[in-house]
């Protein structure tokens, strides 16, 4: 039986008046990271999801930072836990679109 992650992503674009929350169901496998989750959504569920995906995969480039359940993490090295609800938000308020932010 396949397990699923119920992910909520807070999305916003300068064209929009206000933020909205999109819900996605992503197949779970042990050891998957948030970056894998985001990439799954982008490749299979919603091509308009914006997030930074340079995939150094080692926590070096600091590009993949997002806020998960209120805490800032690096999505490439943080595994997703099966039995928790996940709410993804941009790491700061300098939002370009969705999870893509301005760092400086």
């Amino acid at each position: 039986m396949e397990n699923f992650i119920h992910a909520k992503i807070v999305r916003y674009s300068p064209d929009d008046i206000e933020k909205r929350i999109d819900k996605f169901e992503v197949p779970y496998f042990a050891g998957m990271t948030f970056q894998v989750l985001l990439r799954y959504i982008y490749e299979n569920l919603d091509p308009t999801l914006a997030f930074r995906d340079y995939r150094c995969g080692r926590g070096v480039c600091n590009t993949c930072r997002i806020k998960v359940n209120g805490k800032i993490i690096k999505s490439c090295e943080t595994p997703v836990e099966l039995d928790k609800e996940v709410v993804l938000e941009p790491a700061n308020n300098n939002i370009i679109r969705d999870l893509v932010i301005c760092y400086d």
Binding site: F29, M32, T33, T48, Y54, C61, E77
Partner: protein, 563 residues
């Protein structure tokens, strides 16, 4: 009618990595107005942040017998006759000065007993690799800080360049899409430096950054520049193939497979240890692993198993080695579900560095007037094989030269020419049409994934005529039948699919050129190996691809020699 913004500058630099940032600093120092555009955020995209800490410069700190002459000889010998000697000479001579510049910029290097430390790497006569604290990320952070001290220079991040603007055989600017505001921009410039890194991301198995699609090579090729040695690809044998969360991440395979360290064994799908004897050099090991996979003995993820259980070391010894060498990464791997002490894990060879690119002279001129190139984008300093540590050295030496000579070129122009509005509007219309709905519309992602699989399978560490022909036909089919169907949904702002759509036609063009170059080189030399032509010919020549008004040529070119 669709509109575009126009910004004028003296020197425009495409690429915000180690070479581009260094060029920007130098051009500003030389008095030019500089504008740097980067496809992603500086220090958080591209290849530089991922680079290992090694920077080669013959300061002779560990061994005073070392000097630039010996550095030069090492480059030329390892390059297997394909290094352009004037470039190798400049790299060896100037690396020392560029290292001192970095120290001045606040970049820190490892020291040992009060002296700067130099590691001894294969291919170096004496220990010559300086180690940057923080690796590539440390380097680009230091350069970014230094660039901030030159506030006249401007930076555009998240900008996707789609075309070079040429007038009367001379570069006059670039055109592209600003991902941040979704608007088109034409930058008018008196000189353009291309420093956009390599083309590793054309293969599915690579250990680099997935935005390294070789845009600059395609841009320069379209503008008529000489492009050389595209078939020369350097592999790293120890890249995680699985799980998805670790795919593309390097490990220090020498430590895991070395008898004096972990002593783990490489094992194919049948459980056979196919590697007998000592660990061979990188190119030989790469080919051995690739051959196992190609002949159907790889894992289900097209990789090779590394088996800890066959090690001669005790569990206590292995625990100690983990603490000594990979304590940090081990914690991460365990979160991903891999315990290297007892679980088999899967490695495959991954594309690590691309030796081909835009042909330059020692002032970083390409063959197009006003167009310069530096760093991995340029070619061919290293020849058929690059010594570790020479890539970062190359970014600093030729990045600085590109900044200097581009600024000089710009000084020779009193103003800007007329903007070739026809070219701009044509490209703008093409980019806009990518967002139109089409019958059987295709996401660019589908084409990208197919392209990467083709390159992995047929343009890998071991090539032959039949495989290259299959690859060429598949690429031409994608260009003819899939590319016209590319369709991008969503809005204008930060549209990742739109950026990928801009990259994909360049990527297909470049893939075709890589394959044609591999077909032309009917020999094996350094990193290019052909099972149907395993001999190395006596006279080394570059492969050269060039676009003319009536078609493209794929031909040989002389390697430059010193008198």
């Amino acid at each position: 009618m669709e509109e575009f913004d126009v910004i004028k500058t003296d020197v425009l630099i495409v690429g915000g990595g180690a070479a581009g940032a260094r060029a920007a600093i130098e051009a500003d120092v030389a008095g030019a107005e500089v504008l740097l555009v980067s496809k992603g955020p500086i220090a958080r995209s591209g290849l530089t942040p991922l680079a290992y800490p090694c920077l080669q410069a013959a300061v002779g700190s560990m061994d005073s017998r070392d000097n630039p002459d010996i550095h030069y000889q090492d480059i030329v010998r390892e390059g297997k006759g394909l290094s352009d000697m004037s470039l190798a000479r400049v790299l060896a001579d100037e690396a020392v000065f560029r290292f001192r510049d970095l120290e001045r910029f606040g970049v820190r290097f490892e020291t040992e007993q009060g002296k700067v430390f130099q590691a001894h790497f294969p291919g170096q006569t004496y220990p010559r690799n300086l180690l940057i604290v923080g690796g590539g990320f440390g380097l680009i952070s230091g350069l970014k800080n230094e660039l901030r001290k030159h506030p006249r220079s401007k930076i555009f991040e998240d900008f996707c360049v789609s075309k070079l603007l040429i007038d009367n055989g001379e570069i006059v600017g670039v055109f592209g899409l600003n991902l941040r505001d979704g608007k088109f921009y034409a930058f008018e410039a008196k000189a353009v430096v291309l420093a956009g890194g390599g083309y590793e991301a054309l293969w599915d198995n690579n250990d680099g950054s997935q935005d390294s699609t070789g845009d600059c090579m395609s841009l320069a090729f379209e503008a008529g520049a000489d492009i050389i040695d595209l078939e020369m690809i350097q592999y790293y044998p120890g890249v995680f193939a699985y799980p998805g969360s670790l795919k593309g991440v390097d490990i220090q395979y020498e430590t895991f497979l070395g008898k004096q360290y972990f002593d783990f064994k490489l094992v194919n799908r049948n459980g056979e240890e196919f590697l007998k004897g000592p660990l061979p050099g990188r190119d030989v090991l790469t080919r051995m692993m690739f051959n196992e996979i190609e002949q159907g003995r790889g894992t289900e993820h097209n990789a090779i198993y590394v088996d800890p259980k066959k090690s001669s070391k005790s569990p206590e010894e292995i625990d100690r080695l983990v603490k000594q060498f990979v304590e940090g990464p081990d914690k991460l791997w365990r979160k991903m579900g891999i315990n290297i002490r007892k679980d088999r894990f899967e490695l495959c060879p991954g594309v690590h560095y691309t030796l081909g690119g835009i042909r330059i002279d020692d002032q970083t001129n390409s063959s197009v007037n006003g167009l310069f190139a530096a760093g991995e984008t340029s070619s061919n300093t290293h020849g058929a094989n690059r010594i570790g540590g020479n890539s970062l050295a190359e970014t600093q030496v030729f990045g600085a030269r590109a900044g200097k000579y581009a600024a000089l070129h710009a000084k020779g122009h009193s103003g800007w020419g007329k903007l070739p509005e026809g070219q701009v509007r044509e490209e703008m219309s093409r980019l806009s049409s990518l967002r139109e709905k089409k019958k059987d519309g295709l996401r660019p992602l589908k084409i990208r994934n197919e392209l990467r699989r083709v390159m992995d399978q047929f343009v890998g560490p071991n090539r032959n005529e039949e495989g290259l022909k299959i690859a060429l036909n598949k690429i031409l089919d994608l260009k003819k039948n899939a590319l016209p169907k590319v369709q991008v949904g969503g809005g204008r702002i930060f549209n990742t699919d739109w950026c990928m759509a801009i990259e994909i036609n360049k990527a297909l063009d470049l893939a075709e050129l890589i394959i044609r170059s591999a077909m032309l080189r009917k020999e094996s030399r350094g990193n290019h190996y052909r099972s149907d032509f395993p001999q190395t010919l006596s006279d080394p020549v570059h492969t050269l691809v060039k676009r003319h008004s009536n078609g493209i040529t794929v031909d040989y070119a002389q390697v430059s020699r010193l008198n």
